[in-house]
Amino acid sequence: MTAITADIVAVPRIIRSPGFWHGVIRRLSRDPVALVALCIVIALIAIAILAPYLAPYDPAKTSVIRRLKPIGTPGYLLGTDELGRDMLSRLIYGARLSLVMGVIPVPIAFIIGSTIGIIAGYAGGIVNTLIMRTVDVFYAFPSVLLAVALSGALGSGLTNALVSLTVVFIPQIARVAESVTTQVRRLDYVDAARASGANAPTIIVVHVLSNVLGPIFVFATSLISVSMILASGLSFLGLGVRPPDAEWGLMLNSLRTAIYVNPYVAALPGVMIFVTSICFNLFSDGLRTAMDVKS
């Protein structure tokens, strides 16, 4: 009884609507495809982190007598590669470098590309023209070609591959950021903020960022799968990770000679690249749908 009267007497509380991201997570949690994709991605990340505990063998341990065993060989569940190394262990360890190379360039490019694009989009006019035409020079090259050319110029190695992938993605993200910002800048609430005397940095932080980061973020997540494939491609060409490190693209390259002897084993790294990139893509699609407020 006292509880009820206290409730009635209490000052009416301000009703607060759940925020935008709350709604996004709620909608995302109702999308089975995106959830499954997210689970697989999380599982892959867990496998990469826990690789030393999960891998049955040392991924670098070679054996002359156990070369190219087929899938299902007792003790070697996924067979062995052309140097007799256990495929399961190498795929597990390979997840580490492959995920690093696939994922790391995207957030770096996201930060740099968004900054460039938002400044260009908000400033407009001659600043926009200068920035965006410079970006277009990079954008004119096909991304694979640009990544290969940059990696080739910088020399092989993990860091150089990451740098070149980042540079490849910056123009793409900058273009998306610029076009989204240009749209938002024309809206009346930006004019209203200008009319209330706010300066450009304040308007960008309060009014522009919250409305453009979502779409740019969705685009960036879709780039992770591209980054995975490009990174594998660089390793395949000998421009990324150096042997004997395990990386899926590199494994694909070294097993290429065995494709007539043991095609299923040779295809395994490719399957991993495919599954990982498609999961990132499906999750990104789900995110895009969940962020569409109009529904």
């Binding site: 301000i14 009703i15 607060r16 809206l187 609430y189 209203a192 209330s196 005397g197």
Partner: protein, 353 residues
């Protein structure tokens, strides 16, 4: 910080400089031309003459209505006044002081606020209502708590219970509620002039009436001056003390509401008034008073810009640009027919001022 809420009209605004006789805003020779993409490399650059040398004054405490067809420069005038676009020529005096000169842009913007037509596009969808309303004061250094409290006061004042609405997002509100939020946001900086750019045009008729009455109440309580842009002549007649008629970037006629609505001296104003739908079935016009679209503001007609559609047009109208001249104390028109000895056959022989 909230004493402005209780200021009545009799109290003198401490920011008032020139006294009641000084116009709040005086616009002198304002020009804005927007460049358009030229059709060829060696073609001369063309411009849209959106606002072409206009002069007018907004008196303290009045509501000045601005009417005209789409594309006549109403919204550009509002944005020029708001300093959202830079004028090519001309200046704006606010209470006798040059904007950007004697009065800084920052101070000016505190005193002039705007309500836009599209209630949804003018609110940031990611901010709650209280965040949107308190943004302006916080930009000007009001502490967050005070700004939020002031936002709640204002929301209450425009008829939105802060408990129910302050924490909500714009998409959860109806059009009329959103427009009330926009009005509260405009008032948060305690402006003296509020520019209402088609502020009620997108609302349902019943909601429109509520918002119009709210605007009248707020004007009285806060001692505001309004620039009221609309294409709805009935609403203008209801709201405004004086009316300015614009045509193709120029002022066709300006005067008191009664002068414009009862004895207009410009054929364009007359045509606009004739196009108002009548409630009387006998008075319904079967012929549209104005035919066709207005000419392109890129290549406006020579002389009087209205001569291509004016039924009184004579040769002289294509040659002389009629100046905006006073006809009586309360009315000025830019028409050769009301200019003594202009050469138009309808022109008066003597000035009868």
């Amino acid at each position: 910080m909230t004493d402005y809420l209780h200021r009545s009209m009799g109290d003198l605004d401490p920011r008032d400089r020139g006294g009641p006789a000084q116009p709040l805003v005086s616009v002198q020779g304002l020009v804005k031309h927007f460049p358009v993409k030229s059709s060829g490399l060696f073609q001369p650059r063309k411009v849209v003459r959106a606002v072409d040398s206009i002069n007018f004054e907004i008196l303290k405490g009045e509501t000045l209505g601005v009417v005209g067809e789409s594309g006549c420069g109403k919204s550009t005038t509002a944005r020029l006044l708001m300093q959202l676009v830079k004028p090519d020529k001309g200046e704006v005096l606010f209470d006798g002081e040059t904007v950007g000169g004697a009065i800084s842009l920052g101070d000016y913007r505190r005193q002039v606020q705007m309500v836009f037509q599209d209630s949804y596009a003018s609110l940031n969808p990611r901010l709650t209502i209280e965040e949107s309303v308190s943004f302006g004061p916080r930009v000007h250094g009001v502490p967050a708590q005070t700004a939020i409290a002031r936002a709640h006061d204002l929301l209450h004042r425009v008829g939105l219970e802060p408990n129910r609405f302050a924490g909500r997002y714009p998409h959860e509100l109806s059009g009329g509620q959103r427009q009330r939020v926009n009005i509260a946001r405009a008032l948060a900086l305690e402006p003296r002039l509020v520019i209402l750019d088609e502020a009620v045009s997108a609302l349902d008729k019943s909601v429109e009436a509520q918002v119009l009455n709210l605007l009248l109440d707020l004007k009285r309580d806060f001692g505001l001056t309004y620039l009221f842009i609309s294409h709805d002549l009935n609403v203008v007649r209801f709201m405004c003390d004086r009316v300015m008629v614009m045509y193709l970037g120029k002022v066709a006629e300006i005067g008191s509401r009664d002068a414009i609505f009862e004895r207009t001296k410009h054929p364009y104003s007359a045509a606009l008034l004739a196009s108002m739908p009548s409630m009387d079935p006998q008075a319904r016009a079967l012929e549209p008073p104005l035919v066709g679209d207005p000419p392109s503001p890129i290549d406006p007609p020579s002389g009087c810009r209205f001569h291509t559609r004016c039924k009184f047009a004579e040769d002289i109208c294509a040659q002389i640009v009629p100046p905006l001249a006073a006809i009586s104390q309360a009315q000025s028109a830019a028409c050769l027919m009301s200019m003594p000895r202009s050469g138009h056959s309808h022109a008066p022989v003597h000035g009868d001022l």
